[in-house]
Amino acid sequence: MIISFKDNSTWLQVSRYWELLRVLVARNLKVRYRGSFLGVYWSLFNPLIMTGLYTAIFGATFASYYGNSILNYVLAAFTGLVVINFFSASTSQALTSVVGNGSLLNKISLPVSVFPVSMIGANIFQFSVGTLPLLALMTLIYSKNLINVLALIFPFLALVLVCTGIGFLVSALYVFFRDLPYFYELVVFVIWLSSPIFYPAAIVPPQVRQFLRLNPLSPIIESLRQISLSGSSPNLGLIWGSLLSGIIILVLGWTCFHLWRHQFMDLL
């Protein structure tokens, strides 16, 4: 038990955490985009190219499930890819964040959780300036309703909660198991394939479909598509479903991180 009189007030701790988060997020972004001409807009490249690829291969076959419109397929694939991309990038970066800063944690007293959170934070920034405006524009054109544009924040918030929870979990596990990245790659691939991103959920046999519901990203993708592509006003049930899955994952991840945290220092 450490008692430090100066940092006794919660406010000081919160403001220190915030300051740390800001400099670490800034560092992550600067390191990532140093000397690159397009900067954060590179992050849009991947989903756009993948969307083109999926459309070229599956577009014609699956169009009948999307009201016989290739455009609808393109947009559905894009919204799904945006979500899975954010998930795989932010959680794999969070995975190495605690171990990667191990030597620093051995020199200066810091709140450990700030490292995975700062990785998620850098991805939030990148998403907000790159993909989010594009999504907002798409939503405005489709729904012609500002409420839908504003409602985009909810599935995104749910996505951030899920990623933070998983980020806590994997960054803690990586301290103990250094071969985790190989396993985690497989996990991400399973989540990728089991979310209805480039195929319509309707083609999956009903017996299998109930297992796909366990995927925490499914309700988020569903809610995002409903808000941006359906043209009707946001469905609160879907929003609550996605937020609930986010909160459950975050609580789970944080609990594990918190329980294991005191063992970290011996292994870093």
Binding site: S4, L104, N106, I108, S109, Q263
Partner: protein, 247 residues
């Protein structure tokens, strides 16, 4: 006024060699029934220590006796397994300077980053950037990425940031001086200022003459236990006596 107080502080640490970092192996060993709890070693054993404001305290002992670990517990880097650590005031740990640097970003960004990691606010650091650059003599390198600097320059920068304000508690793991001769003198002067000022200083060193000359009190650690605490000359005498007996 006491600024640091340790009551019955003990620390158990896991020995790393023992541990398998492998998920595959761990799962296999559980199935084979060979899994066992990791072995822990007592690194600090019932340490009681009170340091008063302005005191200069030296810590001596053989390699592996827990000197650096004790400093880490006081800094809050390691949590004691049992016992209570109380610290009042801002600690400046001068343990391996520049541990928080990122070689890909500019010198100015590094000043901000390292300063905030050490516990200062962004605003404070922005105000101090000039004086830090001046002290480190790196005004012309402000926007250069850190990897463009020589290792001596990086060490100078680390020292300049960590010592720009007079801390309440200064922690030194081996008396350090970095850079070329000219800069070494500057370092020494700054440390001397802290020494003469109100700062509480904790120093780990193997330089016994230095400790006798500058410290009010010495702690002699042996295998994680306090073997002797008190007058510097007496401590050094006992310490050297023990060494000659062992030989």
């Amino acid at each position: 006024m006491e600024v640091i107080r340790l009551d019955n502080v003990s620390l158990l640490r896991r020995t790393q060699e023992e541990f398998s970092y492998d998920l595959k192996k761990t799962i296999l060993s559980i199935f084979e029934g060979k899994y066992h709890q990791p072995v822990q070693k007592l690194v600090l054993d019932e340490i009681n220590l009170v340091v008063n404001s302005g005191e200069k305290l030296g810590i001596i002992g053989a390699n592996g006796s827990g000197k650096s670990t004790l400093l880490k517990v006081i800094c809050g880097i390691l949590q004691p397994t049992s016992g209570v650590v109380r610290v009042r005031g801002h600690i400046a740990p001068l343990i391996e300077l520049g541990a928080g640097f990122d070689s890909d970003i500019s010198v100015i960004d590094n000043i901000l980053l390292y300063g905030v990691l050490l516990g200062y606010s962004r605003k404070e650091m922005q105000e101090r950037t000039r004086s830090i650059l001046e002290f480190a003599e790196l005004e012309n390198y402000a926007l250069v990425p850190l990897k463009g600097l020589s290792s001596g320059m990086v060490a100078r920068l680390g020292f300049a940031i960590a010592t720009d304000v007079q801390p309440d508690i200064l922690i030194l793991d081996e008396v350090l001086s970095v850079g070329d001769e000219k800069f070494k003198n500057k370092c020494k002067q700054r440390i001397d200022n802290f020494w003469d000022g109100n700062s509480t200083v904790l120093v780990v060193s193997h330089d016994l003459n230095f400790l006798v000359k500058y410290c009010n009190r010495l702690v002699w650690l042996d295998k994680g236990r306090v073997n002797f605490m008190g007058n510097a000359e007496e401590a050094v005498k006992n310490y050297l006596h023990k060494l000659t007996i062992q030989e």
